[in-house]
Assembly symmetry: C2
Homo-oligomer: 704 residues x 2
């Protein structure tokens, strides 16, 4: 292709249209305004030549990009098995059960970023397949690509390809080329192009607890109050299917026996500082008040005997929003958990409308399934926006253009390592993921997972099935309490990180490749992979090599390196500079790997020297707007420090409408006397959330 084929549609974002894309696409559905000013402020760099991009039209149209030998490719949405997607074929279909590494996932996103420093996005409601260097062209075959497996130890099951090939769906797509100059810049630009990252209400960053499914109103109140009595912070109580008068399919109406007075329950909870989040799923019960109205606006096939409404239709959206506003939001519900919008075809359970289902809007089952998670996120977010209220919730399916959606992906199908990998991978694609905790095999596993979830986009314990609570393992209750309280103390820091996501596109939780390469890429992922052929169990050999997919950044200052059950030490890759153990005070030289040991009481978290971390006391729940708490500014290390602090009302969209928000720069300087001095550039006087500022300077560990 050449430059004329691409039109710069936003700073550093070029668009081309291939074929005649029809119907909705994720970006047109989300309809977000790119944050152009922020994009404009960014440096821009494109490491590609236009002529190295190829478009081959035909029955099977292919858009392809060059791959360097050592290039790594990240993204493609919520991938669970691997971070670098090089060498993989990604079939980007929404699927609830991506147990095999096909690319299918709850949240596939046909957006990749290369560590050369650029990204490519395909905007389509159809399934896109991307061959990330897994397809090798005949014209590359001469390059000594073939090896003799009989005798050559360097033989590889996946040969190195020089192209990343994107199979374009039949009707066509809009494709976007997104500039760097770094991988981190390309991701930021993607997030900004999609409207900026989500800024949750402050309460969303507190602790979340979901109660057992058939709890009644009285049991919910008792469980909530137990948190207060036992001194565990909690902001959100989640109700599970039993709040519905019918579930699977659902009515979205309160069960009158278990919940005779939902409004009064919500009031009582609110008085105790709790928000309420309601589970739901898309499929509408014949007993629902909306059934007859939505039936003509629904797909040709049912799920669990319920309607699959076509919410691309404004009329269907209106019915959904009217019901939800009246029955939930008006009486105080704060958000939703949008379950089962992903679909499954497995042995034990198979449920979803088929790909050939037809919907009144003209879309088919494949398209609606690809879009379903986005439809619900947008509808509910719109509904709360209309009330000038922010929401924060859970969703099990997402996709392209979801950066601005205040939703966190979840599922309990995975193990602790996959949870952490998903948290890392989500950061490449404008997604958030919670490694929610349900039951655990033992106290150790429980603690390790609870520690991780406290350093995630949503600190969530889900007791829907078996009623676990933070005090379920009494012998380690104190550890859990400690980390729930630490989460609360970090709220100003976490909220600032999300503000950077919203305004600057910087993901609050980030995989290690965002930290850049120390210099040039020296080795290919392939060079790292030692071939070990076990000819009976692994006929094509195994790959070795270490991906740093088990640790991540939280904001700019913190690096979290979870431990997993059965371990009390691990390797950590520390970026260049000096680092401190957040709770140990131990000092480390970065720029390589270290070994760290931590007993069950501690999750290894590291602070970058010079960071200034804004903190607050561990309140039982996030303070309401106007309730002031002291602010503690913790500066780490022995050199000058800098940081940011963001604040707003924490609940409404005033920060968008009227720019009612505040940024402070925090500066720490060593005086000529050798003492540190801290300063909030902006004005302490204008603070609404904080009563006073306490500076803790030159620390090597967190003050108690």
């Amino acid at each position: 292709m050449n430059q004329a084929d691409w039109m710069e549609t936003a700073p550093g974002v070029w668009k081309t249209t291939i074929g005649n894309p029809i119907g909705l696409t994720p970006l047109t559905w989300m309809n977000r305004v790119p944050k152009l000013e922020a994009m404009q402020r960014m440096k821009s760099g494109l490491p590609l030549k236009w002529e190295d991009i190829r478009l081959e039209k035909g029955d099977r149209t292919v858009l392809s990009f060059p791959l360097e030998h050592a290039e790594a490719v990240y993204g493609m949405g919520l991938q669970f098995m691997k971070m670098d997607q090089r060498g993989r074929t990604r079939y980007l279909r929404v699927n609830s059960d991506p147990k095999q590494d096909t690319g299918e996932t709850h949240a596939p996103v046909p957006f990749f970023v290369s560590d050369r420093g650029y990204g490519v996005l395909i905007d389509s409601a159809s399934i896109v397949t991307i061959y990330c260097g897994s397809a090798v062209r005949l014209e590359d075959a001469g390059r000594g690509a073939a090896r003799d497996r009989n005798i050559d130890r360097e033989w590889k099951a996946t040969p190195v390809s020089s192209r990343i090939e994107i199979r374009i769906p039949n009707d066509g797509v809009h494709a976007y080329l997104i500039a760097g100059p770094t991988l981190a810049d390309a991701v930021r630009r993607y997030n900004l192009f999609c409207g900026g990252g989500a800024l949750p209400p402050k309460w969303g960053l507190g602790f979340w607890h979901r109660v057992p499914t058939l709890f009644d109103q009285q049991e919910v109140l008792e469980e909530a109050l137990a948190f207060r009595r036992r001194n565990f912070p909690c902001d959100v109580i989640g109700l599970e299917p039993g709040w519905h008068s019918r579930s699977y399919p659902v009515t979205n109406e309160w069960d009158q026996e278990r919940y005779p007075k939902p409004a009064s329950m919500l009031q009582t909870l609110s008085a105790q500082g709790f928000r309420v989040n309601l589970w739901e799923q898309p499929y509408l019960s014949p007993d629902s008040e909306l059934y007859e109205g939505l039936k003509p606006l629904s797909g040709s096939h049912t799920v669990w005997g319920g309607l699959a409404p076509d919410y691309t239709l404004p009329q269907a959206q209106e019915m959904y929003k009217r019901q939800h506003k009246k029955r939930h939001v008006d009486i105080g519900v704060s958000g939703y958990k949008l379950d089962e919008c992903d679909g499954s075809e497995l042995t034990r359970h198979s449920w979803m409308f088929p790909a050939h289902a037809h919907f009144p809007s003209g879309h088919d089952g494949e398209q609606i399934r690809q879009l379903y998670g986005l439809l619900f996120q947008k509808m509910t977010d719109d509904m709360f926006r209309e009330q000038n209220l922010r929401t924060y919730g859970l969703v099990r399916a997402s996709g392209t253009g979801a950066s601005s959606m205040p939703y966190v992906l979840y599922s309990d199908l995975y193990d602790h390592r996959q949870f952490v990998r998903a948290l890392c991978n989500a950061s490449f694609s404008g997604l958030l993921w919670t490694p929610e905790v349900r039951k655990a095999d033992n106290a150790e596993d429980w603690v390790r997972r609870m520690q991780t979830v406290c350093f995630s986009p949503m600190a969530l314990l889900n007791g829907w099935g078996d009623g676990t609570k933070p005090w379920s393992f009494p012998e380690v209750e104190h550890i859990i309490r400690h980390y729930l309280r630490l989460r609360m103390r970090l709220l100003p820091y976490l909220y600032t990180a999300f503000a950077q996501y919203h305004f600057e596109g910087i993901p609050p939780f980030r995989a290690m490749p965002f930290e850049g390469n120390s210099g040039e890429r020296e080795k290919s992922v392939f060079d790292d992979h030692h071939r070990v052929t076990d000819t009976t169990d692994g006929a094509y050999g195994r790959r070795g090599g270490r991906e740093w997919d088990d640790q991540y950044m939280v904001g700019d200052a913190l690096l979290v390196a979870p431990l997993f059950a059965g371990e009390s030490e691990r390797e950590v890759l520390l970026p260049p500079g000096i680092w401190y153990g957040l709770e140990t005070g131990e000092r480390y030289d970065g720029g390589g790997t270290i070994a760290v040991r931590a007993e069950l009481e501690r999750i290894p978290v590291f602070v970058r020297e010079g960071s200034v971390i804004p903190m607050m006391p561990a309140t039982a729940h996030v303070p309401k707007y106007g309730e002031k708490v002291p602010l503690q500014m913790v500066h780490f290390g022995n050199s000058d420090g800098a940081g940011l602090l963001y604040d707003d009302d924490g609940e409404t969209f005033e920060y968008e409408h009227d720019q009612k928000y505040q940024w402070w720069k925090t500066l720490v300087r060593k005086t000529s006397e050798g003492e540190f001095h801290g300063e909030l550039v902006g004005s302490e006087k204008s603070m609404v959330s904080y009563s006073k500022v306490e500076w803790c300077l030159g620390q090597s560990k967190l003050p108690n």
Copy 2:
């Protein structure tokens, strides 16, 4: 639809063409003549009304069939997870790694049989998706299909659908409706329509052993002779990748260092009664003599740096066959193991040309991948046919219309139970499967798997990776020897069963549903599935219920119920009648389940009363044509008996060309004196393979 939409193209087979199918289809490629006479002799019955078949045309054309509440649906090719496919969505793509139950497999076949007694076949080179009652129509929603999962224990993760829906590939397909009246009849008719089942050469039914990959000529000879020395029968020695001068991709040429004189090695082996089978794969090395010639006839993408030739082109076929004939067949090679024609996209290894690859014939990568296994089977079978020699071999991908192909599917990815289930499921789709043995966890697992493989289409031990041999576990060597020898003794019986496959379409190895239901279907598979909701590990509940997918029929007389490591007893479902333990003599009443116990020495095998099993001595290898051995006719039980015996030259196609074959009916009658008398109806005099006939009448167990 109505009857006029369908044309009877063979007795009991109706065809309709949907859309404008282009290019090759599996049936046109296989180009087999239906066995019309045999089909004509069958009873025919169609339990459907024509108007209950629906064709909905549109962007996504769907052909659908009614489903009764309790109807079971079998087939779809080599499925590993389940026998009854009801409730599943089958995405019938060729895939080497069907670890998740999507329908993908080495050998997908869009052919299902209903236990109502009919079958449907879709003939297409594209991927077909079949919703086997997993898609529920809106118009069915009124039937009380929705349940309240909150309180209703009968809630099911997969609701019951009233239609089986087939998504027709875009260009169109040929669809065939295949009459019963029973499930067994529908499968027979399918096999006969595809040209009848494979009749392997007799030597193919002996024992097979594959040697380690880098063995040289001398090591091969030594390993082969060890079988003779140690008194283990063996007919076929298989060579693995190391016989190629280059492998992965391959040259198909002998490595001159390891195999300096292949012709003389083959002669020596032949003199000892061994055949040789060569491993190969499709992808052609740049070092191959065929590379330059096949390059312009190959696909746009390479695999492991090798060409993916377009063997739908006659010119490419000719080059392949000419090379193989000259280098292998002319010096005595008897067949091939056709590996890696299936493709994989996984974390650890990803190799295949992409779906969008283009081939000189105009086919794309999806079509060629779907066809690849069939292309190689047909080309090699044709090549041996041209020499008037039968072959028998292994293949890792297959599909529609392969009944007549002398190839057995294999892969080592599965566990013992899956191996047995695949053996059962293969029988619904004109496929053969070997639960080949490689290494084992322990002697017990080893024995159990070796016992099973001796009652399978190919008794194969594959030592390519770790060099296992039948005597690898000395403590159980005598058990292995016993079953290898029993396999040899059963040769006349097994060969007759394959002849029934060839001439009558009756699979030699059959899943239990072929035995029919004792009367009407009383229960749905759904009724059997108890819902056990484990809300954290299995959010959608688990299915209980017992499928008899771990036992199978061999011919008409034997029922094999393997034991699995860790077990010494099991339940067995015995069809109505009286049965005997083949080696124990114990008597059982059929028509229900029994419990059976067997120590490691025994695999539970049962004989139907009245069976007459033709046997021979346990020779070291299958006798050559004209070498006579005694025939032992073993009659079981206390009532009159009947059976069949088939014979021919065992090696050539004379049985087809000149009808040079013989069938005997075996009859056993009780005389008025109360003694049994056996008779071979036909003539003992005309026997070529057998020197004399010994009758063992009224047995309850196998004579030693």
